[in-house]
Symmetry: C2
């Protein structure tokens, strides 16, 4: 006998959890579709060469699930994100009309050290627009992320934005070789706080005066204020960024929810323009979405520049938060009927009734073990069906069933035909939600 063991850092999803996951995925898909981002998918595996050189050394040496295929000697890797496969797809299909918009909700794999909320296999939900250099494309990504969060009932979001060109101009240019360390330190603001950042900056050799200048920029600004503030701090060099944030403001679905944050860095990967991150403010706050413009990634495959921008919804964290907040209820009753057979002779009557319900689109269940009344009821309670339907000799002879709404406790004797109508109506209502 073998020991049954799930791989470390991986998860099984039992029915009640999987139902909740599917509900969230379907909702997110619909919001993405509405915004003109249709679904697509790519393989779970890519050739290693496709991924190499895209994610930085830590990811490539430690986090990517990479392996050699013994039959072809080819190196494969499990998908690490959904952006590089998109770039590979675009480059491979020059016939695609740009701009190309799509969403993708798929698994990715990372060889992380497992801990609470961090797994080696998890879902990402991405939207991207390839082929538009315009700020409209970035604004649309941010707007769609905002709508998705609202649709999921997470209204306490704010979206921090920054611009990579601006970070480059104002930090990289000024501090040269130190800029990388400065950006990395600023990036930790959420984790170690302002004092922590100050201390680290001093340690790497930034003067008090310079730090004060940098720290001013850590206050979050309304989009309309960004241009003026930048010009005040940096002079005419900032002129080019003023219209970007003004346009972003006018295109915003909820500009009250978008704040400029100079401390937003978003790693040091492939971003080139607008970057953003959505956080929830209630309870334990944390990032639930991030993204930005990456105009150079696709050219790694295609040779020519292809502008692109996108965002990713942290769907696993979102599901956790929704369960924590009771927005997703894992114990809710099943909107259907459990058929209780009172006399053994009535089993076939109950079985036929069951098949007819299912054929009409109603969720319906019976105990397939032909067990005692007690055990049938126990199973119905465990599965938590909304309706109990009793069938016995009496019901058989009258062509009726006894229907109990288990939530209200109301009990009716009702003709078989009427019970179909009632339950079909019930089911359609559930569908519409």
């Amino acid at each position: 006998m073998r020991k049954a063991e799930i791989p470390r850092g991986f998860r099984d999803f039992p029915p009640e959890v999987m139902r909740a996951r599917i509900e969230v995925i379907n909702k997110v898909r619909k919001v993405f579709e509405r915004a003109g981002f249709p679904p697509m998918d790519t393989p779970s595996l890519e050739y290693w060469e496709t991924l190499a050189g895209k994610y930085g050394p830590e990811a490539e040496e430690r986090l990517i699930w990479r392996f050699k295929d013994p039959f072809s000697e080819k190196d494969y890797a499990l998908r690490y994100d959904l952006t590089v496969p998109l770039a590979r797809y675009i480059a491979q299909h020059p016939e695609i009309q740009l701009p190309f918009k799509r969403h993708q909700i798929s698994l990715v794999w990372r060889h992380e050290e497992p801990q609470k909320g961090r797994y080696r296999e998890f879902l990402q939900a991405d939207i991207d627009t390839v082929g538009s250099p315009h700020i409209e494309a970035d604004a649309e990504i941010i707007n769609t992320i905002a709508m998705a969060l609202e649709e999921l009932g997470l209204d306490d979001y704010i979206i921090k934005v920054n611009h990579r060109g601006l970070l480059r101009d104002f930090i990289e240019k000024r501090f040269g070789g130190l800029s990388l360390s400065i950006l990395r330190t600023i990036d930790k603001l959420d984790k170690i706080g302002e004092e922590g950042v100050k201390k680290e900056l001093l340690r790497i050799g930034i003067s008090e005066a310079q730090i004060d200048e940098l720290m001013v920029k850590f206050e979050r600004l309304k989009l309309e204020e960004v241009g003026e503030t930048l010009i005040r701090l940096y002079g005419s060099e900032a002129n080019q960024y003023k219209p970007i944030f003004e346009t972003l403001s006018s295109l915003a679905y909820r500009k009250d929810k978008i704040l400029f944050d100079f401390s937003l860095v978003r790693g040091l990967d492939y971003y080139t323009g607008i970057i953003f991150e959505a956080i929830l403010t209630k309870g334990s706050p944390g990032s639930v979405s991030g993204g930005g413009r990456y105009d150079n990634l696709i050219s790694l495959f295609k040779g020519e520049a292809v502008p692109a921008t996108g965002g990713s919804l942290g769907i696993e964290r979102i599901i956790d938060v929704m369960i924590e907040r009771g927005i997703l209820n894992l114990r809710k009753s099943i909107p259907g009927a459990f058929i209780i057979v009172l006399d053994e002779e009535a089993f076939m009557f109950g079985w036929r009734y069951l098949l007819e319900l299912r054929k009409r689109g109603v969720i319906a269940e019976i105990d397939i073990m032909r067990r005692s009344l007690e055990k049938q009821k126990k199973r119905m309670n465990a599965l938590n069906y909304k309706y109990a339907i009793y069938v016995g000799k009496k019901e058989m002879s009258s062509g009726s069933v006894t229907l109990v709404d288990r939530e209200t406790g109301s009990r009716t004797e009702i003709s078989v035909e009427d019970s179909f109508k009632l339950l079909e109506g019930e089911y359609k209502d559930e569908e519409a939600n």
Copy 2:
């Protein structure tokens, strides 16, 4: 620059194909839910030891994607089917109340030589009932597969059934060491025909008389006739199988669609009782579903016997057939609105209108490139939206839009508010389908 290349035997799914796939998956999920099989999921990877010894030597030596993790020296394998992971899950969770019913629609990986319709990564859609030794459980699997095929518009199915115990009793017992070769030969009936089977049986040393006796059983029988025919051929030994097929007949959702077929073998894996296979009869026929009872698999993990039965829907082949038959239309129009901006000054009016539509649940799109009228129309046509909505200076000042139903050609000037109502209603109708 790197060459953009998808791994051999793997597929990208562009939006129109992915939409069709999601539609089918959602339909199948609903049919499974109705029959009391809720969704679950397991990881894409299992430890190699979990899969070892379950699928036979060909699968294990050649078809399973197996690899060593360089960090842990652990052997992993990509999921080969959805049944062994289920068995692992059940064994790992002794607290689960039996019978446990679930469906799972997930990817599996096989190191096949790629060819038309055969890929290295594909979806399986399984339903299983663990913990019931009763024929009701088998019948329910078969009934649910039948309902799923009907729901998908594939009414030309028939379901062949056989019983592993019966094959064991009547072939393995009689022919001893030859029985394996006989079963393998019979299994090829669909491929090589009756004459082909006869020739091969002669070659392996079965006498003409014995072949005639075996061949009688290749005629497909109605379930009610099975018992009598078996008793006629095999005498009282067949008594135990008569009630099994009679009960199966009485429990069948469509007994006119179920036929006994003695030539059905379904490989030589883990099946122990009733086995079945659904085929389509129109066009190029082929198996679209199969399954059966496997009472010994879970005990490999758990030590104690746990009866189980299940079925798998060949969802990839089904999608192909549905596209071939035009049941799935990859070119159908998008049930939403494309907003055409007539004057540049009207862009922000159009943009705000767009956001309001999306917020109300309507699929809506605008050209984010701010391009010429010509190019906007070209894009709308390429994406094939159902409605065109024109906004310009005139519409801005009157608070109305010009709405064109691109299918009927009808054109209306309509207030913004009325257009919301019209499109919201349209969208909800689509939802209900």
